[in-house]
Symmetry: C2
Subunit: 228 residues, 2 copies
């Protein structure tokens, strides 16, 4: 069954969040095509993933020292304290949920040049040592996963713009997805809504047409991506 | 009175955290030089800054639309709901604490190529629109602040290394400090402990000497920086 894991990370609710409206558009089109049974939504802003704690770090170090990838079901046998077991109980379901998805949809507003803390808390938790490698084969578990990243940026950070060097959102997520998750670069799609604040920040008024075009293109692209 | 704001963000306690031990070294030397009265410590891992909520975003947008920088004391007059006032009550003290510091000391382990979610939660909260500009003069409020960033990275990400393109920690913090805080680039100091996992991850064993040199240099540099 096709499965979509849809994560939102904007602090703002749907009616004031460009990234939420765009991911919702993708989710609707995807469900129209594939049905609702395989759809999962997680709101990282209103239902935050707890920050990783000391037990997460110590358990991760012990698993990593082991060398060979550890089957997820065996991780508890590496724990030496209730705190470590508790950290794993917060972590394992999120990893399982990620592995079950054929499409991962990330709604990512740019906050201070990069991803919101809400998304980073999820990233820090699911990136457990060896979790995304199949211990039986040594291959990545997410080599067939598709990742669709929807960004919303108040300003313009696209290729060739003066602010491109300040985009620590797109290159960062690309690096994390390929290196830590093992998702092939060809399976990543980034859809950007640029200059979202042109509507209301006086200094960005000259860019309203660019913003409208960017949003319109993002909408069309997402609908197309959801229906393949 | 000289004032040091010391922030730690490692999930691990002092005895298992390179970044915490290094910032503690700086803090001890600083206090030996300047006394304890101006020293402030905040542990972003064990005492997390709450994720910014919808009220933070809506209040920030309203203040930003105003155009001219708003005096911090006037921000509550822009609030239109108890939720916005609550968000500001979580934010204003952190901004005041930051402005009071002549030196900001950040302990930053690299988590998944960038800063921990714990630090990003603080960054997302203190980066309130216009907060770091003096409304009376239009100048930055942090033009004389010194920022000392202590990083600890399991691998090697220094200039010229194969992993340098995956460092979204140093260039990111440089961009945020200069562009959002208005701290001059010349006032930023980055001190790196590289290859901290060489001691225990089998694949990194060949780099133990490099790791030891990096740590030793970081210690010496931090003691020197603390005593000027």
């Amino acid at each position: 069954m096709p499965t979509l894991l849809h994560l939102d990370s904007s602090a703002s609710p749907l009616d004031r969040s460009v990234s939420r409206r765009l991911t919702a558009r993708f989710a609707r089109a995807w469900q129209a095509r594939h049905g609702a049974a395989g759809y999962r939504h997680r709101d990282l802003a209103t239902d935050p993933v707890p920050l990783v704690g000391a037990g997460y770090a110590s358990l991760g170090v012990r698993v990593e020292r082991h060398g060979a990838p550890v089957p997820l079901g065996d991780v508890p046998s590496f724990a030496t304290s209730p705190a470590e077991l508790h950290e794993w109980s917060l972590t394992h379901p999120l990893i399982t949920e990620l592995h079950a998805a054929d499409t991962l949809l990330l709604g990512v507003p740019m906050y201070n040049f990069t991803v919101p803390a809400a998304l980073k808390a999820w990233i820090d938790r699911v990136t457990f040592p060896g979790a995304h490698v199949d211990p039986a084969t040594g291959d990545g578990r997410l080599t067939t996963t598709r990742v669709v990243v929807v960004t919303a940026r108040g300003g313009g950070y696209g290729p060739g713009t003066p602010r491109e060097p300040f985009d620590f959102q797109t290159p960062y997520l690309r690096a994390w997805c390929t290196e830590h998750l093992g998702v092939p670069d060809a399976h990543l799609r980034f859809v950007h809504a640029e200059l979202t604040r042109a509507a209301d920040v006086p200094a960005l008024t000259p860019y309203r047409d660019l913003a409208a075009t960017s949003l319109s293109t993002a909408r069309t692209t997402l609908t197309a991506l959801a229906t393949v």
